[in-house]
Symmetry: C2
Subunit: 267 residues, 2 copies
């Protein structure tokens, strides 16, 4: 619904989002595949752009421990899930092994189950952090039971692809994935895509056409492409298909609107 | 997505659906608030209408133990959730305490976490039952952690109302409910509504407009009304509002299509 920041972004992106809150939403750059560069200087975390230099006061206490990246393979991933992960990941690995990245490679987006678990302090944070809160798509730790997915992004084509393996706890009709679970993944992938363009964004509309049911346990591809941008609006197209593309399970359009953080405070 | 039978219907309705599978989809009547009467005769379970009397052959082995009805209050339900539950439930209780029910009262719909857990046998069942599968909206047993909801139906007005308390595991943006979780509840309530008209139905389209975010832990009202029926198509309108109706969180339209069981087998 609201993507305060892309829910699959890296810990650096988390920190960047936190820093926005405390700095009046100044832009500190973006992910490595963005238009600007994001660099860090430890031990205190420092965001530096070419034109400004800002120490983020709250960051020294932000990282309590390394979070689990749910987008990495685990023992529950089936053969098809692993095959597709390796396919896209091998292309993104190439980018880091020498060639300069001009957005022509896939980039795997890490995925965590707590929005701001690793941040502390601040009046605003104390309002929005609930110690037990977990990201809806990562709220079950049992591998393979619910949402197993990994999102890759390719900047030059403005395209995201998500490999999604549906676990047994996502049941709607007997033996098949709940329509709400499919909507959840569509919201997640398109929302992640939109937030890479300009976070934070809010889902304004999801229009989903269900074509054929998805059996529990199966692996499918969820692809999102940027349709157009109009001011603060980002229109995204999305499809859910079998991994060979022969069967269309779901098609959707999504509209996201860039918002200010204050929108959430009015929530 | 596909509502094989209404996911919040009673164990009797489950049995009726199972019996359909084994009997070539004969109609054994419907729920007490349907157009026909449904009665039982034990020890073997019997469905009787005023004009016909039918023993359901598969039922003696169906009930292994009494399932948990997730639509009943538990310790996690907050004050507002309990107030609204009591409000609607008191009206439905009146219906059972004497007055003949002409659909002018609310009827609480029970809710279970396994579609066909309590049924055994049959070639078709062996294909669709996975022992670990759980209904997506009831897959977490920890009270208050995820989806706490109860659906009431009023036949004379063709209207469903759902009291929904959003738990901490449904997080999308920090402190707020994930758009996919909201879509899931909309699919659930409208799908339940459509299936009361003619199960089984399949979600063909969900068109969701998100107006304002829902804070985690809050209780909201989800209301669905029948817009129109055109042959196999059922058009349902849905809104998610604050409990006093002053704030619209989400508005949606849903289209469901009546299907045959074979649709799922092709899934």
């Amino acid at each position: 619904m609201v993507f305060f920041f892309a829910q699959s972004l890296s810990i650096l992106e988390m920190a960047r989002s936190v820093s926005r809150i405390f700095s009046g939403f100044r832009c500190f750059g973006s992910l490595p595949f963005g238009n600007t560069q994001l660099k860090t200087q430890c031990p205190s975390v420092l965001f530096r752009t070419t034109s400004e230099r800002t120490v983020v006061q709250v960051l020294p206490s932000i990282f309590s421990r390394k979070p689990r990246d749910f987008s990495l393979p685990n023992s529950s991933w089936g053969e098809e899930m692993m095959r597709l992960y390796n396919y896209y990941n091998s292309q993104s690995e190439e980018a880091t092994e020498g060639q300069e990245d001009h957005g022509e490679q896939w980039t795997r987006l890490p995925s965590y189950n707590r929005s701001l678990k690793y941040a502390t302090g601040g009046v605003y944070l104390s309002k929005i952090i609930q110690s037990k809160a977990r990201l809806f798509t990562r709220n079950i730790r049992d591998p393979g039971a619910a949402f197993e997915y990994v999102v890759f992004f390719r900047q030059d084509k403005q395209r995201c692809v998500c490999v999604f393996q549906a676990g047994h706890l996502l049941e709607g009709p007997p033996g098949h994935v709940h329509g709400g679970a499919i909507a959840t993944m569509i919201d997640t992938v398109t929302g992640t895509h939109a937030s890479l363009l300009s976070a934070p964004v809010m889902t304004a509309n999801l229009n989903i056409n269900y074509r054929s049911p998805i059996p529990l346990g199966s692996t499918v591809l969820i692809e999102s492409t940027l349709d157009k941008e109009e001011g603060k609006k980002k229109f995204i197209l999305c499809s859910v298909t079998s991994t060979d593309g022969s069967r269309v399970h779901t098609e959707a359009t999504a509209l996201f609107v860039s918002i200010s953080i204050s929108h959430l405070l009015r929530g």
